[in-house]
């Protein structure tokens, strides 16, 4: 009766809590097993073992330097030339972390949007058509159609439909980031990886971006790194908490934010961290 509540909680707390998914409506589309990432000799990620549900949004949160970007960039092999990645990345049953995988073909299915909006110094149209043309889509009609649907899905069409031939560099930060999303979804990937896509945006643009992501969920599986915990809570179904290169906790977003199993997660989401 007189046991201190904190102590009791701490005793109940686990060291690590990572669930396996079992939602038949949203089967696992991507998972990692025993993923380790080394920058030179330095290990930056120790055993990432997460599963991602299809057509859901999963958020990766955690303090700066905890390995979120490292993990995310490994998922579509963007770390290939920078780091050594060991372990399995299972995408629809295929380990895409094998040397024999054609990374270019794989990245068409696993697209990525970066923290900093990075449109090419080309027109809005050419930005979106870029990856399509690489894949031999050249028919004007077909390109027009895909450009339009991609921009519509990214909620940018109405703002730029008259300026498709203007330079993409003239767009505002929020528009540029949505253009990057449109560019990424133009090749119809399965999975969209986003690394802090809203960190350079103002609150209004951030809100629009979140709405866009929520509507994209219907067609794509989304994995998003974010520093903004409200954002994770608002848009994601699942949340993974990273700390010092480890996934400490992975569960439904409501579990992570209301009733975390690991003390460090609890400290982090309640702002008592550090």
């Amino acid at each position: 009766m007189f046991v201190n509540n904190d102590v009791k909680n701490a005793m109940a707390m686990e060291e690590r809590h990572v669930i396996k998914l079992s939602d038949p409506d949203h089967p696992v589309i991507l998972s990692t097993e025993d993923l380790h990432v080394y920058y030179g000799k330095k290990e930056a990620l120790f055993e990432g073992d997460l599963e991602f549900a299809s057509n859901q949004i999963s958020a990766l949160i955690g303090p700066s330097g905890s390995g979120k970007s490292t993990y995310l960039r490994s998922l579509n092999r963007m770390n290939d030339r920078i780091a050594t990645v060991t372990g399995k990345i299972m995408y629809r049953g295929v380990d895409i972390n094998q040397p024999s995988i054609d990374v270019y073909e794989m990245r068409r299915r696993v697209g990525m949007v970066f923290q900093r909006p990075n449109p090419f110094a080309k027109s809005i149209y050419d930005n979106i058509a870029f990856a399509l043309r690489l894949r031999g889509v050249t028919g004007k009609h077909k390109l027009d159609e895909i450009v339009e649907t991609s921009l519509k899905q990214a909620a940018l069409w109405d703002q730029v439909k008259d300026d498709l031939n203007k330079s993409a560099l003239a767009l505002s930060g929020g528009q540029a980031q949505r253009l990057c999303i449109a560019r990424a979804i133009a090749i119809k990937p399965d999975i969209l990886l986003l690394d802090e896509p809203a960190s350079a945006l103002d609150p209004v643009s951030t809100g629009q971006l979140e709405d866009t992501l929520l509507s994209l969920k219907e067609h794509y599986t989304i994995i998003i790194v974010t520093h903004n915990m409200q954002q994770a809570a608002r848009i994601s179904e699942y949340t993974a908490f990273f700390n010092q290169g480890r996934v400490l906790e992975y569960d439904t977003t409501s579990h992570i934010f209301t009733n975390p199993s690991v003390q460090v997660t609890s400290d982090y989401v309640s702002g008592n961290f550090g």
Partner: protein
């Protein structure tokens, strides 16, 4: 009240730092003025001398630029001195453009290798080699040209071996390092996120280089090439050693000809100040000076356009 005045006095007093500031400005301003004065003096001097051909010797500008025979010592059939600079102008442009055409693919290829394909080897081997090549004096290039390139040309194409072709070969090697290192700088200036964006869209490395990196670096690459051309246009010694120095219209790439610079270096010591022969050479120098201004202008224009993008 008193304290306010004290404070004001203190703030208004020239401190040691403020004096030092004034001194620093004075020194750098003087240096700047001196350089401007020197440049203006050079341009003024060359211009006044170069114009003398047209003002005191009454050669028409058109005859000078379009005349095909160069023989300032004698009067031609029409009784006017033969100061047609066209062969040299053509020679200079031909050799410049040819060497740029040959050097550009090699330079950009090397820069791509250094920067995109194998940055490690690039930094360890190619960078120092390039820098070394930049530092080799032009007489060495000329000497190698004379003892290797000219005999080879002679063996393959016959004739004397002296001519535009040999000059192009020598200039190609001479401007290659400059164009390469400037091209590498241009590629380095392309932000990393462009490459990442392209790779993340499933582009291969070649597609990324070709469609994104080279496109984004185009203004810088053009600047590099024009810089190389400016260097080739102005190079005198090495060219003079292999071109044959015949002030004739080049009728083939392997016939002896000359450039503005080679005629200047061979001729300037053999003429008397103030004579037509001497003035005509100054006119050639004026053409050279004018052309280097044009090259500079082009480089600036490209730079400005690149920034606007």
């Amino acid at each position: 009240m008193k304290t306010t005045e004290q404070l004001e006095a203190k703030l208004k007093r020239r401190s040691k730092a403020a004096k030092l500031e004034i001194w620093g400005r004075l020194v750098s301003l003087t240096a700047l003025m001196l350089i401007v004065a020197v440049v203006v003096a050079i341009i003024g001097f060359v211009a006044s001398k170069g114009i003398a051909t047209f003002t005191s010797n009454h050669v028409s500008l058109w005859d000078f630029l379009s005349g095909k025979s160069w023989n300032p010592g004698v009067n031609g059939a029409n009784g006017k001195p033969e100061v047609g600079a066209l062969p040299m102008i053509v020679g200079s442009f031909l050799i410049t453009i040819l060497s740029a055409i040959v050097a550009t693919p090699f330079a950009i290829g090397t820069a791509v290798f250094m920067n995109e394909i194998s940055p490690n080897k690039g930094a360890k081997i190619l960078q120092p080699v390039t820098e070394l090549l930049v530092g080799i004096p032009s007489v060495v290039y000329g000497f190698i040209g004379l003892s290797v390139v000219v005999p080879t040309t002679r063996a393959i194409f016959g004739g004397s071996g002296f001519g535009i072709l040999s000059g192009t070969c020598v200039l190609f090697v001479m401007i290659l390092p400059t164009v390469t290192s400037m091209s590498a700088d241009a590629l380095r200036a392309v932000p990393r996120y462009y490459r990442e964006a392209s790779l993340a869209l499933g582009a291969t490395q070649w597609q990324t280089i070709y469609k994104v990196v080279l496109r984004a670096a185009t203004p810088g690459l053009m600047t590099a090439v024009v810089f190389g051309m400016a260097r080739a246009f102005g190079e005198a010694l090495a060219v003079q050693m292999v071109i044959g120095n015949a002030a004739l219209m080049p009728n083939s790439l392997v016939s002896p000809s000359s450039t503005l610079t080679s005629v200047l270096t061979t001729g300037i010591g053999n003429t008397v100040m103030g004579s037509l022969q001497n003035n005509a050479l100054w006119s050639l120098a004026l053409v050279l000076l004018f052309m280097s201004l044009v090259f500079n202008l082009i480089i600036r224009l490209i730079g400005r356009k690149g920034r606007l993008q």
